[in-house]
């Protein structure tokens, strides 16, 4: 099963579609979660997910705003989509009885 950050990365990449690359994924994760995403965590996770066959990466075109440097483009594979769905379903199932889902005031006092 995926880890939390792995799920975030796959979901951000899937949402960005053809425009998914390092900086864009990082920006997406930071803006949606409000948490800092380090370059180290991003690129090591991309590589790990690619090794598992959940992502495919390749070097894209270079742009002037990047100082003429190429982007590392990312695409989620069918296996990656399946893994993300499994994670999402598991989170939904486990959350069913939680107070913040059922809107109950129960829980730890």
């Amino acid at each position: 099963m995926l880890g939390e950050f792995e799920y975030l990365l796959i979901t951000a990449a899937a949402g960005l579609g053809d425009n998914a690359y390092g900086a864009a994924i990082r920006g997406e994760i930071e803006s949606t979660t409000g948490r800092k995403c380090s370059i180290g965590a991003l690129y090591t996770t991309i590589e790990r997910l690619e090794t598992k066959g959940l992502l495919k990466t390749w070097m894209g075109e270079a742009t002037a705003e990047r100082g003429g440097r190429a982007k590392r483009m990312v695409r989620v594979t069918p296996k990656g989509i399946e893994a993300a769905k499994d994670f999402y379903d598991a989170v939904m199932r486990v959350s069913r009885g939680a107070s913040w889902v059922t809107n109950r005031s129960g829980g730890a006092l």
């Binding site: 690359y21 390092g22 900086a23 990082r26 920006g27 380090s38 370059i39 180290g40 965590a41 690129y43 090591t44 070097m59 270079a62 742009t63 705003e65 990047r66 100082g67 440097r69 190429a70 982007k71 590392r72």
Partner: protein, 240 residues
Amino acid sequence: MTNVAWSLVEVAAQMLDQTEREAVLGDLEETNERAWGALTGIFGLVLRRQLSLWKNWRPWLASFGLALPGSLLLMGFSLSISQTYQKLINSTVFKDTGITLGPGVSLLLCNLLLLIAWSWTGGFVMGSVSRRTVRVSIALSFMPCVFCLTRFRVESLSRFCLLLFLLPAVWGVRRGLRIAKIRLRSALILAAVITLLTIPTWGSKGSWIPNWALSWPAWYLVATASTNAISKGQRQWQAS
């Protein structure tokens, strides 16, 4: 980001692979990251990359099973050869007439050959087993060298006699980094020669530990070469 700060970031990024460096530096430039954030980001990535290499057994074997103990033992053996050479020079060998061959000389030559073979195979295995951590292995092999060089107290000998093993070891590392594998026949010959050369020391107590600690790389090369030969044979058989 200022030019100086960006230059620092580019220098730090040299520790990354070329494609990764390009993608990371491009991302940093595109997002206009601050110098300190960019530097810590790159160092964090380099650290993660290095640590991930150590999840495998190979860097551990190359560094702590070979580089560290190997350099220590080879320094001891280099010193022993230098002392033997000095004794022969001062006593019987070159006395009066010049060259006199005796059993001491042949033993010295055997030991010299053994030192070269041990150093080369050790270096080769160190270079080929874990290429990406070879710098750490080299640093670990230098630690005992520096320690012993600073504490060397034999007046009649130069302290550099401890480093007789260095040239063949460096040669071995370079070969290991380039070709990674040797043929089964060459590996077998090398292992057999090393084992034969250790025979004179079999009689002395306690010598089997350093012998095996320095000889195992040769037999490791035999094992890996034979595994490769078997898998190559299987592929050819399947193809036919």
